[in-house]
Symmetry: C2
Subunit: 129 residues, 2 copies
């Protein structure tokens, strides 16, 4: 199946403007119809979903672009592409650890607030007996 940009925008949740911007940045370069209109394929869909996950885990557009341009060259660039993913993996592991740590801090702080709020509202205490 082939999809015009409007349809593809709906399918991906990305705006038409964003899709054109991604093309300008070489992230995803769809085929064109004879009349010059963009024609996205199933494989473009799989690819944009991967891009969306990279984006969603904070890979900057520049890095995604780097990966996309290597991908466009073909099989000879697999070692470099593996390296980019490997680096991103390390970034993700660190991010998870950092978020987990801050989540623990946040939990203590919320508990502290709960205690203080209790102290400020004796009625609530009475109601809870």
């Amino acid at each position: 199946m082939k999809y015009a940009i409007g349809k593809f925008s709906e399918m991906t949740g990305l705006s038409i403007h964003t899709l054109r911007y991604y093309e300008k940045e070489n992230l995803i370069v769809p085929a064109r119809e004879d009349n010059g209109r963009r024609s996205y394929s199933e494989s473009d869909l799989t690819w944009i979903q991967f891009i969306q996950r990279l984006k969603d885990t904070d890979m900057p557009i520049k890095k995604i672009k780097e990966y996309a341009e290597l991908r466009a060259i073909g099989n000879s660039t697999m070692v470099q592409r593996r390296e980019i993913l490997q680096q991103h993996k390390i970034i993700l592991e660190r991010a998870i650890a950092k978020f987990q740590e801050h989540l623990n801090n946040l939990n203590s702080k919320i508990e502290y607030y709960d205690d203080e709020i209790q102290k400020q509202n004796p009625e609530t205490q009475v109601a809870n007996i």
Copy 2:
């Protein structure tokens, strides 16, 4: 102890410009000396470290500002502040889940690349016997 902006910048790793910008945004408003110079305290240090963790886990400046302005009002705003932290907690939990999921995908993809790279380099295979 009191710290001038240069010292405080060193202690926090934030540039002097950033500290002034944070003040303009009401995130952290230090005392002033008689001559008008900023004077940061120990409690400013604890507070900026908390701000840094919020920032580091992607809370936007606007939201931190909201929290900071409630904090500046005092004890009467505890319920609202608790609510902001509670919301951020949920955001963090979702972020961790999302990152974890993408990490798993990434691991499969890296393994796939490893296989393909192996196939492309038979010498490596021989060397591994």
